[in-house]
């Protein structure tokens, strides 16, 4: 490391709110980052990691106050600066890559103009030169057809391309420091890899110091030189990336490393005795899908999207069958057709021999008890106005299971099954954490004793440590109740932990299917190999 660090943060304290609602988000954080290095700040939601990033940029949200501490960039005290001076620093000396590429570009300005805007603010390039330079920058961040892209609007670019544009803007004036706040969290894994590669190239080319904020320990493991782990606004551990990961000292870091799906590969095992297989259960698949198709109509047929193009699946009883794919692969559409949330165009779905696609009205309504769904967004799938007790017993009411008094007792049992105490019965969704809400959703799905659970990205919205707990819970419940799972996920690392069989989907088609071990260790399709290679954290794991 060079003698004088590019970024030095000393004893940083930030609070939100005032009076009794005051919340101490960052409590005494120290950071040091040298030129050309990547420092990853790792933590879960609420750890204060994003607040640290905002403080470094001098962009704390309303209601947040920097109460103590100093932020120095290149020896200049940013904390003592006025807003006008800070604006010159931002972009010129400190660049910023925001989290959500879909909302961080101005939708009414062309891509080229947005880069040129940053250039003209901080350099004395004239309009034409700035525009020309903008095209060069697009080329540098690996965007094909840079001249064309510069003339397009943000909505014409995919999420990955937009994030590259933002990286281009961050590096436009060759800053000494770039703060990247969860730069790839909203992207598919293969895209994430390309975007992070670009960042590393730019860092190497310009010797930029990068402050990388991430919840993903595996990403930090792959990309960072040094890691700082934050919890409850404090740094609990820091050091060289390899050391922190291979030999974590703090209990919380150990828990994080243990939970990170990318860092290990074993299938989770149930911690309970599996239920005995009922005699007479056939070996025939529980669910068979043949030639399933779905086209979403566009405007006048021109923009029609052929989302699912003839999918065949066989899901055996008591197994976890995972459909893996990136956004737009048709995996969710397939799951939603199986759960009869949307109607299929053609093809057949047989559940225990009965054709689901032919079912309508009252018969379908009654049949729904056998197939229950757990959605991606745990809080969004629960009616915000209902208590947990009403939420978990609602399917019982719908299917006319049990009497009123029995239902009240059942609510407790259901919560107990998902390891939630009875004190949660009276709460409402807004009072639950993401993990708790997802447990409630799982309890609700189990209420009517279904045979098949469709799990649509059930852990994608959760913090890694919570993700781990929910996955383990699912594995246990499966053993206890002899459930069959259809598990939809974009994350191969998670799929590896839970599934018995895997189907890989891309552009509406199944590219490859088979036992999980085979697909993962010996992938036959090029696409699966690419997906596997893109999982972060593998270097460290092996």
């Amino acid at each position: 490391m060079s003698a004088a660090p590019v970024l030095r943060v000393t004893n940083l304290h930030v609070t939100y709110g005032s009076g009794s609602a005051r919340h101490h988000a960052v409590r005494g954080v120290d950071l040091e980052l040298g030129a050309g290095r990547i420092l990853a700040v790792v933590g879960e939601s609420g750890s204060g990691k994003s607040t640290v990033a905002n403080a470094v940029l001098g962009l704390l949200p309303d209601g947040a106050r920097l109460t103590e501490g100093v932020v120095e960039v290149e020896g200049v005290h940013l904390t003592a600066m006025r807003e006008r001076a800070l604006r010159r620093v931002r972009g010129d000396i400190v660049g910023y890559v925001p989290q959500d590429p879909s909302r961080s570009l101005n939708p009414v300005l062309r891509i080229g103009e947005q880069i040129a805007e940053a250039l003209r603010r901080h350099t004395d390039l004239n309009r034409a030169d700035a525009a020309a330079r903008a095209v060069e920058i697009l080329d540098e961040v690996g965007i094909p057809d840079p001249e064309l892209r510069a003339r397009q609007y943000p909505h014409e670019l995919s999420g990955g391309l937009r994030q590259r544009v933002l990286i281009g803007i961050a590096w436009a004036c060759t800053p000494q420091l770039v703060v990247a706040d969860e730069p790839t969290s909203a992207l598919d894994v293969t895209v994430q890899r390309h975007v992070l590669d670009r960042m590393e190239e730019l860092r190497a080319a310009h010797g930029t110091a990068v402050l990388l904020i991430t919840h993903d320990l595996a990403v930090a493991a792959d990309r960072a030189d040094d890691i700082v782990v934050m919890q409850h606004g404090q740094i609990v551990e820091s050091g060289k990336a390899a050391e922190v990961l291979s030999n974590p000292q703090h209990e919380y870091t150990r828990a994080l490393v243990g939970a990170a799906p990318g860092l290990h590969s074993a299938r989770m095992l149930p911690r309970v005795e599996p239920a005995a297989v009922t005699a007479g259960t056939s070996d025939a698949p529980l669910l068979t899908v043949r030639g399933l198709q779905k086209t979403y109509p566009g405007d006048g047929g021109a923009g029609a999207v052929h989302a699912v193009k003839g999918v065949d699946l066989d899901i055996r009883r008591r197994e976890t069958f995972a459909i893996v794919g990136e956004s737009g692969s048709g995996k969710s559409t397939t799951a939603r057709m199986i759960a009869r949330i949307i109607d299929s165009d053609s093809g057949e779905i047989r559940f225990d021999g009965e054709d689901l696609t032919a079912m309508e009205g009252e018969r379908l309504r009654r049949f729904r008890q056998y197939i229950q769904v757990v959605f991606q967004n745990p809080v969004g799938s629960l009616d915000p106005r209902m208590t947990v007790e009403r939420l978990v017993t609602e399917p019982l009411r719908a299917q006319r299971f049990l009497s009123r008094r029995e239902r009240a007792a059942t609510a407790r049992e259901l919560l107990d099954q998902v390891r939630l105490g009875p004190e949660h019965l009276e709460r409402r969704p807004a009072q639950l954490s993401g993990g708790q809400a997802q447990r409630v959703a799982i309890a609700r799905a189990l209420a009517v004793r279904p045979e098949l659970l469709v799990l649509d990205e059930p852990v994608s919205a959760l913090d890694v440590s919570v993700q781990e707990q929910v996955l383990q819970l699912l594995v246990d419940l499966q053993a206890e109740h002899g459930l069959t799972y259809l598990f939809i996920s974009h994350d191969l690392a998670v799929v590896r932990q839970i599934s018995d069989s895997i189907a890989v989907m891309s552009k509406g088609e199944v590219l490859e299917r088979g036992p999980a071990a085979e697909v993962l260790s010996d992938p036959r399709s090029e696409y699966t190999r690419e997906l596997l290679a893109a999982i972060p954290g593998q270097v460290t794991a092996s």
Binding site: R368, I371, F375, S381, L382, D383, P384, R385, A398, Q399
Partner: protein
């Protein structure tokens, strides 16, 4: 807790509490009988004895304003409730049914919104006959269109929420989903909107009775009190100004409270 300390909110709440007392127990606030003259003191200027002065029949104007609150406000509340319930139902049907039903309903709403509310109320009053109830129905009908629009937008948003999808996969019947999940979640903005609409309804009701469509004399009513004072506007302006100011203050108070409660969402 902090929003209660806001001076505007506090003052508005105070005004509304006093108004509420006038509606429920007018005798507590009014020093005189609103129907009887208080002696020979005709068209007397405001004084300690007669806060708002006296009218041409030597009645205490303050007492008449206090007693008039009940009719004026009940008509306004009735109008707003009618508008919210009717508009809410229409919006619920429109947003749920979609397609042609939605199209047909929304065109009717467009027509209703194209006619100024007060004109619509006038038509209703003219066909139903004079009186507070027909004013309330008329004003309520005038507000139905905007309530229906808001409800429809809410329903269309809520319909796509994940918990509605979840309710379907549980096997809930359509009406159950509609009344247990969609309606309660869609109603919140309607409640917020009703509080602002109430202020408008007070104005509309007063305007209609000012024009003589409301309560017939000697029943006191705010709009007709302002109207009664019109012929003496040069000699005894307080006859109109005082009840007029009361309308103004109450409308501002309702608005002030509505905005603070609504803005807190």
């Amino acid at each position: 807790m902090r929003r209660l300390l806001n001076p505007v909110t506090l003052l508005s709440a105070l005004v509304l509490v006093v108004t509420l007392i006038a509606v429920i127990w007018p005798g507590l606030l009014a020093p005189y009988d609103p129907f009887d003259s208080v002696g020979d003191a005709r068209l007397e200027a405001p004084s300690a004895a007669h806060l708002f002065g006296t009218d041409a029949l030597a009645r205490d104007v303050f007492s008449r304003v206090v007693y008039g609150a009940r009719l004026s406000l009940l008509a306004a509340v009735l109008a707003t409730t009618a508008g919210a319930v009717l508009g809410g139902l229409v919006g619920l049907i429109s947003g749920t049914a979609g397609g042609r039903v939605d199209f047909a309903i929304m065109r009717v709403i467009d027509v209703m919104l194209a006619i100024p509310g007060i004109l619509l109320a006038l038509i209703v009053v003219a066909s139903l006959g004079f009186g507070a109830v027909s004013i309330a129905i008329g004003v309520g009908l005038g507000a139905t269109g905007s309530f229906a629009r808001v409800m429809r937008a809410q329903v269309m948003r809520i319909r796509n929420e994940e918990y509605i999808e979840a309710a379907r996969t549980m096997g809930l019947r359509r009406p159950t989903i509609l009344f247990r999940h969609v309606m309660p979640n869609a109603s919140q903005p309607i409640v917020a909107m009703a509080s602002t609409e109430l202020a408008l309804a007070i104005l509309a009701v007063s305007a209609l009775s000012f024009l003589g469509f409301g309560a017939q004399p000697p029943t006191p009513e705010w709009g007709s009190l302002v109207s009664d004072g019109r012929q003496f506007i040069a000699t005894a302006p307080w006859l109109s100004i005082m009840p007029g100011s009361v309308i103004l203050v109450v409308v501002l108070a309702v608005n002030g409270l509505a905005r603070n409660l609504g803005g807190n969402r």
